[in-house]
């Protein structure tokens, strides 16, 4: 098949650009360990309130400046709704839902998860700046979806 020389150059340019972009993604994944949340743990959505640790959601200190935060996302609130953590803490969030699909998103961070009933999703972030962070449900979950948010105070 005849392909014009200019077109060959253009296709080569496009493909090289894509390869450069993909390399950047792969580098961020491998070298900086920036990967999407892919929790593999399952949980019976009808028994969330009886299943540890989600029977007592909240913050657990697991080491120096290291925390685990267990959240239940359900129509139309997060439990816990407010969290206070010291600055420079590294927090691993674990979240599940007993009812429908919710979102778990903290703007200005890379904590961005879908919360699927039957599954526990997880994401880790180090909070290096003081201030009030907003936690929002960013997947439509019903009539009160817009009221479903929480706060994280980094002190």
């Amino acid at each position: 098949m005849h392909v014009h020389r200019y077109e060959r150059i253009w296709i080569a340019f496009g493909v090289i650009m894509l390869v450069v972009f993909l390399s950047a993604i792969a580098f961020a994944s491998v070298a900086d360990n920036i990967n999407p949340p892919s929790g593999m743990q399952t949980i019976d959505p009808t028994k969330v309130a009886q299943t540890p640790p989600f029977d007592h959601p909240g913050l657990r200190k697991i080491g120096d400046g290291r925390y685990e935060a267990y959240y239940v996302a359900q129509v139309f609130q997060f439990t816990p709704s407010d969290l206070k953590i010291p600055v420079n803490s590294t927090v691993s969030f674990y979240v599940t839902s007993p009812d429908v699909v919710h979102g778990f998103f903290i703007p200005n961070t890379d904590v961005n998860m879908m919360v699927i009933p039957g599954w526990v999703n997880t994401s880790t972030h180090t909070f290096t700046k003081r201030g009030t962070y907003l936690l929002i449900c960013h997947e439509y979950c019903g009539i009160g979806h817009q009221n479903m948010f929480g706060k994280i105070e980094v002190q």
Binding site: P37, N108, G118
Partner: protein, 546 residues
């Protein structure tokens, strides 16, 4: 034209008109619901107590993304197939398809407006809608299968009666588009018929949520390419005729459509990067494949600009601006499509961000995504469809467009409105504003207090878009009722340029590439599907939360 030939042409035209105008009604209503949303979100109106943002949002999404686009693509594809394969034919399949699509649409629309299906156009389980909503959606898809069968039947007729000849390019593009669509809709049909319908009737007690989402997005992203392929049918086969130019290359056009057939489906997991239950390696695989599907769009960008330039050179115009100025920007059909192409440059690059495995964490489910799909389906696809309607309606009705200047301003306003609205959405999305949310006030907590000006800007863009949509309605209806029949009804499609060269036989086959496409889709999904079957998690009973 003989009397009999003219009669059968008019009968074919009536079928296409039915498709295109059903799409137009969906588009105009969809635009109205879009306006209400934009104002409500910007807090620019105090909504009455009965106002239900999510019901309006569901209606807007279903009408625009599923109904308008689908009816337009079935209409356009039927038109280009019939006109490029002229023969005596039965229109039965075309009409049956249209009726089934319409019945499905009306069922789904009734359930949404009655408040029984406020589940948005993605209808994510375990939000449990009325079974009749799911059945309506399934009928819309089944109707498109009937239309696809009609297109395939015409292609098979051509192959039998024109041995050794190339399939006419418009029919090739339409058939490839609908073969891709057929492969893709297997996912949503399985989701709806096997899982959602029995579950919503109460025949099964729970639903595997992740499996339903995997099946949905197996369909959901190729849906996007269905829109784009619909637009590309016009860009390659029709647009060059607006400036009396040539198609850059016959074989590269076929290659583009074959690549889209192959690569549109095995990419859906890039909508599911933030979900549990799908391992990182599958997310990375779908990132790479999604980048692959950018290649046919690069080919298209080259082919379009090359066709512009070839024509400009014959007029003695050289260079970028001279070429740009030589194009018929005063022809509404061209202007609309030209603006559509410009919007796609923004949409394409935004799409590379969203498809990026880890960068997507910054934008997933923010209103950036909404900005993105408004400069893809709302720009390149929708504006191409409107522009193509300006070309097609005179050929369907024999009537002159009423009026050319309204049509021209409609296209300009849509372009400006879309730029303003999507720019606002992209920017505030980066600041973290979520999509699909009735009010983004959050009591002024943290970053939420910075969002309001962008929402006003989006509402301003939305208002311009609404005015533009109403102008389209005036032109579409005005042409039917106001003007005299003066226009010739014959349609010509673009011919390949001298540079084009002969087309290899391998690029004039469709079914074999379809088999390859199906195998690729199965390979890309075998891993995550096997893992979800091996580790299915628990079934969710589901509920109605609205």
């Amino acid at each position: 034209m003989s009397l009999a030939a003219e009669r059968s042409l008019r009968a074919e035209n009536r079928l296409v008109i039915a498709h295109v105008y059903a799409g137009t009604v969906a588009f105009v209503l969809g635009a109205l619901f879009g306006l209400l949303q934009a104002f409500s979100r910007a807090d620019a109106i105090s909504a009455p107590p009965w106002f239900d943002y999510y019901r309006i949002l569901t209606t807007h999404g279903v009408l625009m993304a599923l109904v308008f686009t689908t009816f337009f693509i079935t209409g356009l594809s039927t038109f280009v197939t019939y006109r490029s394969i002229p023969r005596e034919r039965s229109l039965a399949l075309g009409w049956i398809g249209w009726v089934v699509m319409l019945v499905g649409t009306l069922m789904a629309a009734y359930e949404i407006l009655a408040g029984n299906a406020t589940v948005l156009y993605t209808f994510y389980a375990p939000l449990k809608a009325s079974p009749w909503f799911y059945i309506g959606a399934a009928l819309l898809v089944v109707g498109t299968w009937v239309v696809a069968t009609d297109i395939f039947a015409n292609v098979i007729w051509w192959r039998r009666n024109h041995r050794g000849e190339k399939l006419p390019l418009p029919a090739f593009c339409a058939a490839t588009t609908f073969l891709m669509w057929w492969i893709a809709t297997l996912g949503v049909a399985t989701e709806v018929l096997v899982f959602l319908v029995p579950w919503s009737f109460g025949w099964t007690s729970g639903i595997n949520v992740m499996l339903s989402r995997l099946l949905f997005w197996y369909f959901g992203h190729p849906l996007v390419y269905f829109w784009i392929m619909g637009a590309y049918i016009a860009w390659y086969n029709i647009v060059p005729t607006y400036y009396k130019g040539k198609l850059f290359s016959d074989s590269l056009t076929r290659l583009t459509f074959i690549m889209l057939l192959l690569l549109s489906t095995p990419v859906g997991i890039h909508h599911q990067f933030m979900e549990p239950g799908i391992a990182d390696r599958w997310k990375m695989l779908h990132t790479v494949l999604t980048y692959g599907v950018a290649v046919p769009s690069f080919l298209t960008a080259f082919a379009i600009f090359a066709s512009f330039e070839l024509k400009a050179r014959t007029l003695g115009k050289f260079g970028f601006w001279a070429t740009a100025r030589s194009l018929p920007w005063d022809n509404p059909a061209f202007a609309a499509t030209g603006y559509a192409m410009l919007l796609f440059i923004l949409g394409g690059f935004g799409g590379l961000v969203n498809a990026s495995y880890n960068m997507d964490m910054l934008v997933h489910n923010t209103i950036w995504i909404v900005g993105h799909f408004h400069v893809t389906v709302g720009g390149p696809a929708a504006l191409t469809f409107l522009g193509t309607a300006y070309w097609m309606i005179p050929k369907l009705t024999g009537r002159e467009l009423w009026s050319k200047s309204w049509a021209l301003w409609q296209a300009r306003l849509w372009f400006v409105g879309m730029l303003v609205m999507s720019m606002a959405m992209h920017l505030v999305g980066l600041l973290g504003e979520p999509r699909r949310t009735a009010s983004v006030d959050y009591l002024g907590t943290g970053i939420a207090q910075t969002w309001a000006p962008y929402n006003l800007m989006a509402a301003a863009g939305g208002t311009i878009l609404f005015v533009s949509a109403m102008m389209f309605a005036v032109v579409a209806i005005g042409t039917l009722v106001a003007n005299r029949k003066t226009q010739p009804m014959d349609a010509e499609f673009s011919e390949p340029s001298e540079i084009s060269g002969p087309t290899p036989r391998s690029l004039d086959t469709i079914w074999r590439w379809g088999v390859v496409a199906l195998v690729l889709a199965l390979l890309a999904y075998a891993g995550p599907l096997a893992e979800l079957i091996h580790n299915p998690g628990y079934l969710a009973p589901g509920m109605r939360t609205w």
